[in-house]
Amino acid sequence: MKRAGAYAACFTILPSVLFLDGVRHFIETRMLLHMLLEFPLLFLSGAAAAALMVSYAGGTAWVIEKIDYRGLTAITLVLCVSAYWMIPASLDNSLLQPGVALAKYASWWFAGWMLALSWRRMSEVLRMFMLGNLCWMFGSVGSLFQVSESRLCVNYLFGDQQMTGRALVGVAVSLAALLIYRAHEYSRRTGATA
């Protein structure tokens, strides 16, 4: 348990490496790392912070429960945040305007925080609904990045865009596999209890 706490603390403070100009520059000048390392990192940090909060001040979570019936708010937030940061113009503007960058960091972190707080209250069907949505979103954006004949972001090279497209499709495929697995488990369990 103690070790889990230490991991959670590490993940919580991990995104602070983005304060180092060199690290941030390295990550954000590469589309692949920007979308598939920075975003998940911020998301996980938020989630880890939520886990820490629950274990040390679990009582405060009831406030969230009041506005997050069975995790519906968390799911809405996660889907909105991830969809917004798939827009090429959002990516570019987050690199050119400090305000947009701040919104990006805050929104991904907050989405992770919210989802971790409501994960246990969520029904399995709702979780699968969320995974399914993310799956088609990443899949379609990924294929769009690949079929586009021009650069969609002024800040990224064409090759980088193609590679990110392939990686996003890869993520979508993994999510689909996870979804199938969970659906299979779910039907086995409900079948056993019925």
Binding site: E65, K66, I67, D68, Y69, L72, T73, T76, L77, C80, A83, Y84, I87, P88, A89, S90, D92, N93, L96, R151, L152, C153, V154, N155, Y156, L157, F158
Partner: protein
Amino acid sequence: MTDALINTTCVCAVLAGAFVFAVFEQTSGLENWTFESQRREQARAGRMWASPVTLGESSDVRWLPWSKDANSGRIYIVDFIYTSCPGLCEGLGAQFRLMQRELQRQVETMPVSLLSVSFDLAGDTPEQLAAYSQRHGADASVWRVVRPADQREADRLLRTLGIVALEDGTGGFVHNSALHLIDQYGQVRGIYDYGNWQAALEGAGLQARETARAIDESYRETRQ
């Protein structure tokens, strides 16, 4: 429980509303999904201004093409280059030559100038710029190949125009290149693809006539 459900419905509605609003804002009503199209839209709407910049073929030439209190009545067709660019950029130079010929051919000289501005200050020495302009047959009265006075001015100009130059890893650059129509005050009047150079010239001509008329009118007013 139902209380929580009602609260949740309200919060989700607000979230979804905020999301739709943010997407509409970002894409100007689902029109512009990329930064490049946003930039062109901004120019079309007259909301883009090029920062004042001192340009020159060499370090002792300091020339301010546009500024808030200018009265040259000139329209500039500006593109951004680096002279060591192979292939593609050479082709673009050829398009500038076509525009130059078109401008030279005009009976009534229009106050339209062509400007190729280098953003690679380290690589593009005055000699390099001169070689480039010679290679493409640039006639200095119509087409000038110049560079900003220093890196700070260059960066500021690119930033105000929304141009991002990326190193391509092989010593060259990749950038969102296009023809920019900039008037004497630095207001960007349009952004055109290279292939659309005729439209850019037409736009510049229209703009020049409009400016001339405005100057004429203000001159008449001051005489009265």
